[in-house]
Symmetry: C2
Subunit: 301 residues, 2 copies
């Protein structure tokens, strides 16, 4: 059984803290860190790691514990929404395990985070305790700063573990189970955050845009902006369709796409799709890829 | 040690013959057929297979023998240059073996084809016996029909194995050793073969075009044409640069690119390059590909 975990921590500036988070995670035997991405504008890092389910849950807990020790959200200013020092901890089935089988593991992890670290935990995605909580955007609405009031006003915003109070420095943490997704940022040449937000609204599913696309507009310190996308199913909506749609919508506002970026890792098939599309390949499929075919006949890599 | 062999046979219309060629090759233990591509316009098929060097040489011989039995070049009309029923048999090192180490294996294969099948053999690529013979275009100049006269007139065109006479029905065979290449066809909407040829001349290295690109213009039965490319090193000249250059050159003649096609297999990195280019990805590398990273930490596929 192989599980991936892609925690997002609210630290993207102090490299030594990012390294400490990585090390806490990598200290668990049987866990391998696959990628670390940090962004000073977002003031956020994303660590991708994998291993057996129990080892991954242990490593995730140690990462969260390190974040609680090292990160003080009261001084945290970044361009990405967040509710906690360890903002979101998704578990992703890669092989030999289902989404449903990961739910009790996520619940146990969430409970441990509350019990041992005193950080209230929301369950989201497949692990959510109500339909609206499946969406991270619902859980995170109001951010760290607005969360205490949201909890006061609405019991639907109470955490799954812990009382309706945030941890003073570490806020709260969302722990969830979800299928693999691609985190994909598209850069715009406009400094106007309202344009980036309008483009994001038109591109995302909830605004009548592309299926399986979540998107927000974000301001960068360079003076430019970004449409930050979570692509839930690249087989339904390929990366190139996201890019082309952002280009189209940006053009309406006189803005241009200057580039894009993968956050974390990307499945190889999502890249093949792009090559197939832009080259206009006829008769293409995974069976045309040398390494895939060699792997299939057991001479892999 | 892993070797790939990509023989091109002059049969792209009778599927039962293509299957017989495949079966002859696959009959050797330790050999796996990875891909079979056939094209009725070219009247040609390309079988990609791999295995240990000696098994691959044995399978290649059986494939050539089957081609000699089944294919009569006197009745063969296709749009692609060829000198033989088994036109060209390249050996390609994939792992644990060098180009130089494959040369004696290619020579032994060539000699066996002559001795047991009576088909004269030219060695090309790394196995060539003179610098000009490294190029397949030199070896193949004049095609099956013109080869007897070329041999008569010029001892530089004599085969490496066998006398300067072609086999009456099977012509001659080029056996060689080369690095991996990508066979890539770009479709043009023009019916004018001269346009496809002019585009090919401008795109290929010998015409001052792109490094490591061989290209010819080819007429298709659909009335359209094609620029048929061999891309010798996709790290120097990526696929997308070939496509974009063909587009540019075709535009000068008022022609448009309508699509493209990989013949045989393509290394995954060549596809990643295209995705990186067209998405305008910042900070991309093989380390961003999930399956590659999993393989590196020994959880591959």
């Amino acid at each position: 059984m192989l599980v991936e975990c892609v925690p997002n921590f609210s630290e993207g500036r102090r490299l030594e803290v990012v390294r400490a988070l990585e090390q806490a995670i990598a200290s668990v035997e049987g866990v391998a860190v696959l990628d670390t991405h940090w962004d000073p504008d977002y003031h956020r890092c994303v660590i991708t790691f994998a291993g057996e389910p129990q080892a991954v849950a242990r490593a995730a807990f140690l990462g969260v514990a390190e974040a609680v020790r090292r990160i003080d959200l009261r001084e945290h200013r970044g361009s990405h929404p967040r509710i906690g020092a360890a903002d979101v901890v998704p578990l992703v089935p890669l092989r030999g395990i289902t989404l449903a089988e990961l739910v009790p593991i996520a619940r146990a992890l969430g409970e441990r985070i509350w019990r041992e670290l005193g950080v209230p935990v929301f369950l989201y995605g497949e692990a959510a305790s109500s339909p609206e909580r499946r969406e991270l955007s619902f859980v995170r609405r109001g951010n760290f700063e607005g969360l205490p009031r949201a909890m006061q006003e609405n019991p639907a915003r109470w955490p799954d573990f812990g009382p309706p109070r945030v941890h003073p420095t570490a806020g709260a943490t969302a722990v969830g189970v979800r299928p693999p997704l691609i985190a994909y940022n598209v850069d715009l040449d406009t400094p106007d955050l309202e344009v980036a937000r309008a483009v994001a609204r038109r591109v995302r599913e909830s605004g009548g845009g592309l299926p399986g696309v979540r998107a927000i507009g974000v301001k960068l310190s360079s003076g430019h902006t970004q449409v930050s996308v979570n692509l839930l199913d690249y087989r339904t909506t390929p990366l190139h369709r996201v890019l082309e749609r952002v280009k189209e919508e940006a053009e309406r506002f006189g803005a241009r796409v200057t580039g894009s970026e993968i956050v974390g890792l990307v499945p190889e098939e999502a890249l093949w799709q792009c090559a197939e599309h832009y080259l206009g390949l006829r008769g293409f499929g995974p069976g045309k890829v040398l390494e895939r075919r060699l792997a299939e006949v057991a001479w892999g890599r």
